[in-house]
């Protein structure tokens, strides 16, 4: 069996289709709750989906857009910063080398070979060159043959022959030459600056040496955070200054040398897969940005580079991507956390809101359904009433004829003297049986008519408690014969109700009789009759609660339908409750029922009070009245 929905106390008085027959009504009502549960669940899902979609989608869009924006923004900021750093360092190195070259040039261009050949003169010049910081390690004058003519410095190089060396050939050809860092004879990394001197009679090469430590110390000052470094490499990628971390001077640096195009630039490289480099300077397509998603770029490095004009060296500023973007990653992480928290909050709020809305809708539906049912029941009863009245009238006439025919036969029997005594007895018995059955029919038709009749007798003001006491007095004997005790729980000083006295009593007779009958098969039980004033509805509420067998859910829907009875044939007409219902409805009240199988049933009758009666109970008896009573 399908359980009925737990609803308000409004009984299922009628089937929603308003059909006259209980069976159809029952079928319709049983399906309803199942349909409702499903549609509410569906509605709930839809509500949640809509509200979540409407709020989460924009949130995601905003979150994603701001993530992209911040990423792009920070990338361009970073590019700018690295650009400046690398340019700055390049200028320092370049100007240092330019100054040194200019120093050497000045010496070479202003002094003749004769003068410089003299070691004491050369020493004097060397001293002057190193006056502003001891940049030069040594200084030598080399003749056309590639041999030292004069030398100032810590090494013994006088016998060295440079005639076949690359740099010597270069300087003779171009006039000025700055070498890469190399070891040479002295086994210390150094750079030479050589200038072709031509003042006076003979050409010579003035050669000065700078230890690369100087260069290293120049760029070392630009340390960057924990992972940043600045260094110089030549065109082949050989370290020209000592790197801060892996490797040492004159080692091969692990750099994607082919990527360093243009004068300067910035690369984001993967040290393991350098071909995956890209340059944020040229703008990063969003797809790349996602591909190199900032969160996943821990192993990547930022490389800023700039080519020196002379010599052909590359200045590189390098820093781990994760350090550069540490802050921005924190911001992004915060955004992500906030985003997730917001989505979670939206989900929770959406579910709660949707559930609340469904609850409200459900309540409204139930109220509407309850009203609808009452309306249906009322109109159903009205149409059944008309039909019943018609049938009752049509049956009454033949019944009247039968009854007179019966009397005619009885008269004839009395007139006939020669009848056998037994025959006469049996005939009389049959005739009286006809009388009884006609009366039974008449009783049914009268009930039908009462059910359909419009009460036009003027209503009276009735004390409900008195009326109930009267009814209980009539039925007490019957109740006790069933072993049922009737208890009364009346609220004192109830306002009077406007009602039809006999009809109202008939309603309570019906209800109490049913309550007694509900104990059929039980050795004992009780019926509690209570009255109270309901100020919110301004009316009287009477409850008749029994401890009887209860009404099954399937019957509960039909008990107010005419001709519905569970009593044995001949015992009930099935009109009692429907008559009661229509009587109470005519008085502007209503009847509802709650029942639990095996535990009992409670009927609640509501009767409205006229407006004047309400003030009576609210104000209480006036002082004058009390005095009168005293």
């Amino acid at each position: 069996m399908i359980a009925p929905p737990k609803e308000s106390s409004i009984p299922r008085l009628a089937s929603p289709d308003g059909s006259m027959f209980g069976r159809a009504a029952k079928g319709a009502n049983v399906r309803r709750p199942v349909f409702h549960t499903r549609s509410y669940a569906k509605l709930l899902r839809r509500f949640i989906l809509v509200s979540v979609t409407c709020s989460v989608l924009p949130l995601l869009l905003v979150g994603w857009a701001s993530y992209l924006y911040y990423s792009q923004f920070s990338l361009s900021r970073m590019a700018d910063y690295f650009q400046k750093t690398v340019e700055y360092n390049r200028k320092i190195v370049e100007s240092f080398l330019q100054e040194r070259t200019a120093d050497v040039k000045l010496v070479a261009y202003t002094n003749s070979l004769d003068y410089l050949k003299d070691p004491s003169n050369l020493k004097e010049v060397f001293h002057l060159l190193n006056l502003e910081g001891s940049h030069f390690t040594d200084l030598g004058v080399i003749g056309k043959a590639g041999k030292y003519l004069s030398y100032v410095g810590p090494y013994d190089l006088m016998d060295k022959d440079y005639s076949e060396t690359f740099w010597f050939k270069e300087v003779k050809e171009k006039g000025v030459y700055i070498s890469d860092v190399f070891m040479g004879y002295r086994k210390v990394p150094h750079v030479i600056i050589a200038v072709l001197g031509s003042k006076g009679e003979g050409a010579y090469v003035l050669r000065a040496t700078i230890y690369s430590e100087f260069l290293t110390s120049l760029v070392e000052t630009a340390k960057l955070g924990q992972t940043g470094e600045v260094f110089l490499v030549n065109r082949e990628g050989i370290y020209q200054t000592g790197p801060r971390f892996k490797g040492k001077i004159m080692d091969q640096a692990s750099l994607p040398m082919n990527s360093f195009t243009g004068e300067s630039g910035i690369l984001i490289t993967d040290p393991i897969e350098p071909q995956n480099s890209f340059s944020p300077e040229r703008g990063i397509p969003i797809t790349d940005l996602i591909k190199y998603g900032l969160m996943q770029s821990r192993s990547q490095q930022v490389l800023a580079y700039s080519w020196l004009k002379h010599p052909d060296w590359l200045l590189v500023v390098k820093q781990d991507f994760s350090e550069v973007f540490g802050d921005i990653n924190h911001v992004n992480t915060a955004i992500l956390v906030l985003l997730h928290a917001s989505i979670l909050a939206i989900l929770i709020v959406s579910v709660f809101t949707a559930k609340y809305m469904i609850k409200v809708i459900k309540k409204r539906d139930q109220e509407a359904e309850g009203l609808n049912r009452q309306l249906m029941q009322a109109s159903k009863l009205a149409s059944i009433g008309e039909l019943a009245a018609g049938v009752a009238h049509e049956i009454n006439n033949p019944l009247a004829v039968i009854l007179t025919e019966n009397q005619v036969i009885r008269d004839l029997t009395e007139d006939e003297q020669n009848l056998d005594a037994n025959f006469r007895d049996e005939l009389v018995q049959s005739l009286s049986q006809i009388d009884t059955q006609v009366e039974r029919c008449s009783h049914i038709t009268q009930n039908l008519l009462r059910f359909s009749r419009r009460i036009s007798v003027a209503s009276q003001f009735i004390d409900l408690n008195v009326s109930l006491k009267h009814v209980v007095g009539l039925l007490e004997k019957r109740a006790s014969s069933y072993g049922v005790q009737i208890s009364l729980d009346f609220q004192e000083k109830l306002p009077k109700v406007s009602a039809f006295p006999f009809e109202l009593e008939q309603v309570f007779v019906n209800l109490i009789n049913n309550a007694i009958d509900a104990h059929d098969g039980k050795p004992y039980g009780s019926i509690n009759i209570a009255t109270r004033f309901d100020s919110s509805r301004n009316g009287l509420v009477t409850t008749v609660a029994d401890t009887g067998s209860g009404i099954p859910d399937s019957d509960l829907e039909r008990i107010f339908d005419p001709f519905f009875t569970t009593k044995p044939v001949g015992k009930g007409t099935g009109l009692g409750l429907s008559i009661s219902y229509s009587i109470i409805r005519q008085m502007g009240g209503d009847i509802s029922v709650q029942s639990e199988l095996g535990k009992g049933t409670e009927f609640t009758v509501f009767l409205p009070c006229p407006a004047a009666a309400q003030s009576e109970i609210l104000e209480g008896p006036r002082k004058d009245d009390l005095n009168d009573k005293a």
């Binding site: 009454n396 004829v401 009854l403 007798v457």
Partner: protein, 128 residues
Amino acid sequence: MIKPRLLLVDDEIPFTANLSKLLSRRGYDVSVVNDGKSALRIIEEQKFDVVILDQKMPGMDGITTLREIKKKRPHMEVIILTGYGSGDSALDGLQLGAYDYTMKPIQLSDLEEKIGQAFQRKLLQEKE
């Protein structure tokens, strides 16, 4: 004891036939008509004490007939005996001066009782 003179007005012929037979046997002087107009005609011609009147009849209905009877013979007692009882028509009938308003089917003894009471009232009213 004097039995009242009765007029049965009812379109249900088997019913009037039986009832007139039963009442005649019990010493009543019974006349029968089957519609309202005939009833009005016959009360002009003859004298009746009590009229037993059906409510729903073809042509003129019971209530109209009652009104007309009361116009012509104010002291004539009328018992409305009908299968079509309703609160409204009962009230109408009683207000128009019907002695009683009763429903079919009715036991003969009950009807006789009502006839007796109606007759008594008529006698009392005539004395006044």
